[in-house]
C-alpha cells in the first residue's frame, strides 16, 4: 500500500515537474503591432529595428527564455490594429503585446487586450486616457506620456523667459494634447495658436501669418512627414534666423533629420533620449544600431530597445514565469534595469518618471546632422494624469 502510494506520488511529482519544465521550455510569445506601410512606415521601422536590436543583444531571449516575436502592420488604421491584436491574443496566444506607435490605434486595441489578461508594454504611444481614468494594471508605458515631451519644452521656454510664442500643431487629439501640455508649464503670451489639417503639405499661408505676428519663438508639433514639410518651408522663408523653433521629442529626430537637411540646424527639442547620451548602455546601443542599420538611431528605436532591456530584467526577476502576471507586474514596476535613458522609474499609473534634456540640431565631424545634447531641463518629470488614475488591484 505504502509502496503503491509512493509510486503514485513519485509519478505525480514527475508529471508536475515535466509540465513545469515544458512551460519553461516553450518560448515566450510577443506580438509587435506597428505601422510598417504608408508614410508613417518609417516610424514603425525604427521601432521594429530597435526591438530587433535589443533581442539581438539578449540572444533572442528574455530573462533566459527563448522568445518568438510576431510582427504585423497596422497600416495606421485602428481597426486593422485591432484585428491583429485579436489574432495575436486569441490565435497566437501571445504573452506580451507591444509596438503600437499611434495613440488612436492603441486606444482601439488596449481594452480587449488588457481585459484578456495580456500585458501591454508600450514602446511608443502613451495616450492620456491610459495614463489617467483608463489606467490598467496590465498596461505599462516604457516610453513616455504623450504630453510630457511638450511639457518639458514648455518648462524650458518658461525658464528662459521667452515672452511670447506662436503655436502650430495638427488638428487631431495628440496635437491638442501637445499644446495643452506645453501651456501647462509655459505661462508667457501666446500670440497665435494654429491647428492645421493632419498631413498638410503646404505651410506657406501659416508661415506668412507667423512673419506678420513677429513672435519671439515658435513652438510646433509636426511628427513625421509634416515636420519635414514645415521645417524645410520655414527655413526657405528665411524665418529660422529671426524666430527660433522649439518642439517636443520625435519631431526632429534621426527618422526625419536626414530628409530635413540643413534646414533643421538650430531647432531646439526637449527629449528623453539623444544619440549623444553619455551612459555606457546608451553608447553601446547607438554604436550597435549604426553598425547594424547604417544610420543613427532615433528616440523611437531607443525606447523600443530599452523596452527589451526592461522586459529582460523583469522576466529574469520573476524567474521566467510570464504566466504569473502578478509577479511579472511587480517586477516591471521596480524597473530594475540599466536603462539607456539613465534614470528611469515607474509612477503609480505605470507611466515613466524620467529626465528631459534640451538638444539642438547641429552638424557632426562627418557632416551629418545630429541632436547636440544640452542642459538637463527637468529631473524626474511626472505626467499630469497619474493623480486621476485609480489602479484596480
Amino acid at each position: 500500500m505504502t509502496h503503491m502510494f509512493r509510486a503514485l506520488s513519485f509519478a505525480a511529482c514527475f508529471a508536475a515537474l515535466a509540465t513545469a519544465v515544458s512551460a519553461q521550455d516553450a518560448p515566450i510569445r510577443i506580438g509587435f503591432i506597428t505601422t510598417l506601410s504608408g508614410p508613417a512606415g518609417s516610424i514603425g521601422q525604427e521601432l521594429a529595428d530597435g526591438f530587433k536590436l535589443g533581442l539581438a543583444k539578449t540572444g533572442d531571449t528574455l530573462g533566459g527564455r527563448k522568445v518568438v516575436v510576431h510582427y504585423a502592420d497596422d497600416q495606421a488604421k485602428p481597426d486593422i490594429g485591432r484585428q491583429h491584436a485579436d489574432k495575436m491574443v486569441e490565435s497566437d496566444k501571445v504573452d506580451i503585446l507591444t509596438g503600437v506607435n499611434f495613440s488612436n490605434v492603441l486606444l482601439a486595441i488596449a481594452k480587449p487586450v488588457l481585459d484578456a489578461g495580456v500585458l501591454y508594454v508600450s514602446t511608443n504611444a502613451g495616450p492620456s486616457q491610459l495614463a489617467g481614468k483608463q489606467c490598467h494594471p496590465n498596461f505599462f508605458a516604457a516610453s513616455f506620456q504623450n504630453d510630457t515631451t511638450s511639457e518639458a519644452i514648455g518648462i524650458h521656454m518658461q525658464e528662459k523667459g521667452i515672452k511670447d510664442v506662436y503655436i502650430l500643431a495638427p488638428n487631431y487629439p495628440a496635437g491638442k494634447d501637445m499644446v495643452a501640455g506645453f501651456k501647462r508649464y509655459y505661462k508667457g503670451a501666446v500670440v497665435g495658436e494654429v491647428y492645421t489639417a493632419f498631413n498638410q503639405l503646404d505651410y506657406s499661408a501659416e508661415i506668412a501669418q507667423i512673419r506678420a505676428a513677429k513672435p519671439s519663438a515658435v513652438f510646433f508639433f509636426y511628427p513625421g512627414g509634416m515636420g519635414i514639410n514645415f521645417v524645410k518651408q520655414y527655413d526657405q522663408a528665411g524665418l529660422k534666423q529671426q524666430i527660433p523653433l522649439y518642439t517636443g521629442a520625435f519631431v526632429v529626430d534621426q527618422s526625419v533629420l536626414p530628409a530635413m537637411g540643413d534646414a533643421a540646424i538650430g531647432v531646439n527639442t526637449a527629449t528623453l533620449w539623444s544619440e549623444e547620451f553619455p551612459n555606457a548602455a546608451s553608447r553601446e546601443f547607438a554604436a550597435a544600431f549604426e553598425k547594424t542599420y547604417g544610420r543613427i538611431p532615433s528616440p523611437y528605436a531607443a525606447d523600443s530597445y530599452d523596452t527589451v532591456l526592461m522586459l529582460d530584467a523583469a522576466i529574469r526577476a520573476s524567474a521566467g514565469r510570464v504566466d504569473d502576471k502578478a509577479a511579472l507586474r511587480r517586477a516591471l514596476e521596480k524597473a530594475d534595469f540599466a536603462s539607456i535613458r539613465g534614470h528611469f522609474r515607474f509612477n503609480s499609473n505605470h507611466f515613466p518618471i524620467q529626465d528631459y534634456y534640451l538638444t539642438t540640431v547641429e552638424k557632426d565631424g562627418k557632416g551629418r546632422l545630429y541632436n547636440k545634447l544640452g542642459e538637463r531641463i527637468v529631473e524626474g518629470l511626472k505626467d499630469s494624469y497619474a493623480t486621476t488614475c485609480t489602479m484596480a488591484p
Partner: protein, 338 residues
Amino acid sequence: MAEFDPHLPRPVERLAPIVVVGLLAAVPPLAQVLGDPFLIKVATRVIVFAIAAVALNLVLGFAGMVSLLQAGLFGVGGYVVAIAAHHIFEAEPIGIAGLAWGGSADLALTLPLAAVVAGLMALVTGMVSLRTSGPYFLMITLAFDQMLYYGAVALQKYGGDDGLQILTPLTLAGWDVSNRWRFFYFALALLAVTLLVVGRLVGSRFGIVLRAAAENERRVAVSGIPPYPYRLAAFVVSGAVAGLAGGLLAAGQQFVSPADMHWVRSGDFVVMAVLGGLSTVWGPVVGAAAFVVLELLLSSWTQHWQLVFGLIIVAVVLSLRGGLADLVHLLGRSGGAR
C-alpha cells in the same frame, strides 16, 4: 459593369448565395473544433464588410456608378451606434431640436437608426451627386466622403481622430449579444436578409431599369423612364445598408473611428466588389472574404505585403473580368458540358 441580362437569376445564381451563407454558418463550429475562437471574429468582419460590399454593388455593378462614398456612410452608421451607447454610459441625454433622448445600447433600436441616418445622408448627397456621371460621379462622391471624414475628425466631443469607444454592454431587444457566437449569427442573418433584398431588387422591374440605364442611358430615357429617381433610390438603399453594416462593425469591435470613413476604405469596398464579381448579387461576399483574409495573412506574413496585394489586384483585373464569381461560372460551365 454587369452585362444587361433581364433574366439574371440562373440556377447557379439562386444556389450560390445559399452556399455562401451556409459556408459562413459553418465557421463557428469549425473554430470550436480547431480551438481557435479568433476565426469567428475574422468571419464576423467578413460578414460586416460583405453586407456593405453587396449594398455597394447595387450602385456599382448593377447601376454602373463608381461611388467612393460607401465608407463615409458606413462610418456614419458606426457613429450612430457608438454615440447612442456613449450617452447611456455617460448618463447624459442628447438634445435634438429641443427634445432630449437618453441614448440607447439596444441594437434593435440603434441599428435601424443607423440605417435611417445613413440613408438620409445618401439621399442628400445622392441628389447632388447623381447630376454628374462617370469620373465626375466618382470624384464628387469622393468629395462627400472626405467631408464626412473631416466632419468625424472634428467631432471633439466624441473623440475626434482618436475615435469613440463603446464601454456599455450592447443588447438586442434585451438579449445580450456580447457573446461572439450570438453576434456572429445575428450578423449572418442580416447578411442573408441583405442578399435576399438586393437579389429581389435586382430581379424586379426596378432592377431591370437600373441595369438597362447603365447599359444605355439614352434608350431608357427615350422609352419614357427617367433613370434619375431609380438611381437615387438605389443609392439611398445602398447607403442605408452601408450604415447598418457600419453600425454592426462598431458594435462588434466596440469602437468607431474616422479611419473607418476614409476614402481608401471606400476603395477597399470597390475592390471587394470587383474581386468577387460585379455581375452577381453574392459575388461581393466572396470578394470581402478574399480581401479580409488576404490582408490579414499577407500583412502578418511579410512586411512588403502591399507589393503582393497590388500584384494580385492587377492580375485579377487583367485576367478575371467577372471577378472570383467567374471561377464558379467557369466551373459550372465545364461541369454542365460533361
